[in-house]
Symmetry: C3
Subunit: 319 residues, 3 copies
């Protein structure tokens, strides 16, 4: 087994063998979850703290369930109503939390790099649950596991990521992960929603859905943030759906067995047609959620093992 990281801050620094190790373990937990078997000893005696500076009921719940199934004591800190509002700096918040001796810290923050900064100030394992437009590694890992289970492999696939790529940490982490695993990634978006650094990403770029979807194995839709519309990035929901919304006609350009993904929550009729989302032969959207819990269990398990080893070796000073 190869997984040496102290934290899971992003896909950027993961090696392909680490990704495979994590997905293999997540596969195991996915099966346990289906059977209703818990593994309370894995994180027994450990304290997991979920620090969400941005609300996300969905992601926080997934991490909370993952921790509880592994036997951790889970504490949610709702940072929107906390000391942060009282003017405390992020570093002081980190130091304060650290003094309470958590073992696992799950953080979502609105600023790119904030989770990494925080990880340098604490003596526990930190998982990035989304930082600004930077990374959302567990989302990319759960997407990868979903693809691997549906396609039987996670390499040499042709994968289209469609929609608001410029503002999406999900897209960013996925592009890195899928590239590392030697897949062919296409980005499909209107020019206003395409990242400016797109030429450096090693991807193919399209602004036409039919062209971009041609013969792909996987269609990964992104959520369209409502605030983009007010910002003038797109003309209207209706126009957006007409050009970039996934419907049966556009999907017909992809391979016959192409799967459809969405990180949720979906705007039906905006970026995706409801009938596609509900098509059990194509959509793996619920499997993504299911794999989310499994991937988070695997990540916390591996990080906890490393933490215990580093503590035993005296490499982590407890205070």
């Amino acid at each position: 087994m190869t997984f040496n990281a102290a934290h899971l801050l992003g896909i950027e620094h993961l090696h392909p063998t680490e990704i495979t190790t994590l997905l293999d373990l997540a596969d195991h937990y996915a099966e346990q979850n289906r059977k209703g078997i818990q593994s309370k000893d894995v994180l027994a005696g450990m304290t997991q703290v979920n620090m969400f500076f941005e609300n996300s009921t969905r992601t926080q719940s997934s991490f909370e369930l993952a921790g509880k199934r592994l036997g951790a004591d889970v504490m949610n800190m709702s940072m929107a109503t906390s000391s942060v509002k009282k003017g405390e700096t992020l570093i002081d918040t980190a130091l304060t939390l650290n003094a309470m001796h958590p073992d696992i810290l799950v953080v979502r923050h609105g600023s790119a790099g904030a989770v990494s900064l925080l990880s340098q100030k604490v003596n526990c394992a930190v998982l990035n649950a989304g930082d600004g437009r930077h990374e959302h590694p567990t989302q990319a890992l759960l997407d990868a596991l979903t693809i691997r289970r549906a396609k039987g492999r996670l390499h040499r696939l042709s994968i289209a990521i469609c929609g608001d790529i410029a503002h999406s940490r999900v897209a960013r982490s996925n592009i890195m992960l899928l590239g590392k695993m030697e897949n062919r990634v296409r980005l499909i978006a209107p020019p206003t929603l395409m990242p400016s650094e797109v030429s450096e990403l090693g991807v193919e770029v399209y602004d036409d859905m039919r062209e971009g979807l041609k013969d792909v194995d996987v269609v990964m839709m992104l959520r369209l943030q409502k605030e983009r519309m007010d910002g003038g990035f797109i003309p209207s929901e209706r126009e957006y759906f007409h050009r970039y919304g996934l419907d049966a006609e556009k999907l017909s350009y992809a391979k016959d067995d192409a799967i459809v993904m969405h990180p949720g929550p979906m705007n039906r009729g905006v970026e995706i047609d409801g009938s596609i989302a509900d098509d059990i032969n194509r959509s793996v959207i619920q499997t993504q959620v299911e794999m989310g819990v499994a991937v988070r269990m695997a990540a916390m398990d591996l990080l906890a093992r490393n933490l215990r080893e580093r503590r035993a070796a005296g490499q982590v000073v407890t205070v």
Copy 2:
């Protein structure tokens, strides 16, 4: 033991023997709670999710304590700040949650029928913690247990339900439950707060408190929602208390040993006089809260047994 339901969505579909089975088990849990004895094995390894689309600290806490005393992993999802706000449909929310493999799902929702709809989309046991003006079955069951313990029986009693009946799911569930158990139910309310379909309910109708309370065994007061006053349903708090507020003088028309109930939170001086609420010889208001935890333990215990059986029989596909 007779209790075959997969979900507890309302009183409407419960058979009297199911009600009795549930109350008998709740009686057992009430005694355990008084002795401080927990039963952590009953829901051990099970995940209970509380999804409250409407805030209710009181009801949510009761379900949370009930689950924890039975050993469940309990997760609260505060839906007021969740994906729902991001435009996700209720069915998508249900499917998403279902993919996380919960075992027990407790739902409160502002729309009648929403909990039932949700129960059709998930593979776990669903408990209705209040849906719109439709049903609030655990409230009716805790009221029934409170009455049975105070009166020694739950049939052939004369029970008056007083106040804002038109807008009350508590009243609706209670009318059904008390009717099924062959009690005589009277409704007392001003015409503006009486439901329009009252003639079909098999109850006696009064708009005068003294007449309606005459010789009853149980006086069940309802909370007056403050917003009713703005809506022009009642003239003023003072006038309402004068005509429909329960005080010693009006209560004197009931039987000498009549008990007084209120689902809480109370508006003292509006629908009930403080001295009546505090009269330990008459008021069973705190017992109602106590029985609330016991009834919820019993309901989750029974539903979990059925869920395990259906799973073992392959009748519930896990994914």
Copy 3:
């Protein structure tokens, strides 16, 4: 061991030997926490409810972690969104909660005396997590433990409390505790932030920082509430920092080995210079947070022992 209290409502009624008993046990838990050893049996089978009528992520988290490390079932009740808003009285809220059979109740409330009132209505152990401008006993105890560990003793020390003393329950509890343990307490504040009853407190009073800090062993800074500035209590942040903010120059008047404390969250550059807060040779601010968890574990452990004894002796009626 000497600790006979049923509740921890304030420092006022604690005897010095009770304080020492509590701090000794907290010292033990501090070491356990550093080693990552939990004591799940101490509060096993007990229900801890955190009722925070004022939000405080920091204090609530500390109590939550303390309870979970001792094996309690912990339930957070967010009272800001609860029945209180629906017009329920504090006593009705207490009686309702009591009917759910909690064992330990942690309460923060905006009104002085509210926690004490509530403790009279329930059959469980109550801990005051801050009531108005009255008391915040666990903060004073964690400060005391921090001082004792840094200085090797908790008596005959010279301790300066600086800043917004008039509005601070932290200052109030600390003045009492440090006085009981026979220390010399100085208060340093502008006249507008000095309590009117200061002459009865048995302390020395200064409005000049340099004078007040002269030769002290401990410098205890208080948080400046932003709302004080709007209230006209201080001229401006900048002026306040100039006169009362702790910086290296002012600190040089204290003893060479004087420690610096702050209850957090800090306003860097307002009441304390960032470089002082970060000086690991002087600042014990993170140790305070760490001792906070330990002190709360000790307090809940001692109160739970007393509760069990009183219950066994039939002195607490369960219902």
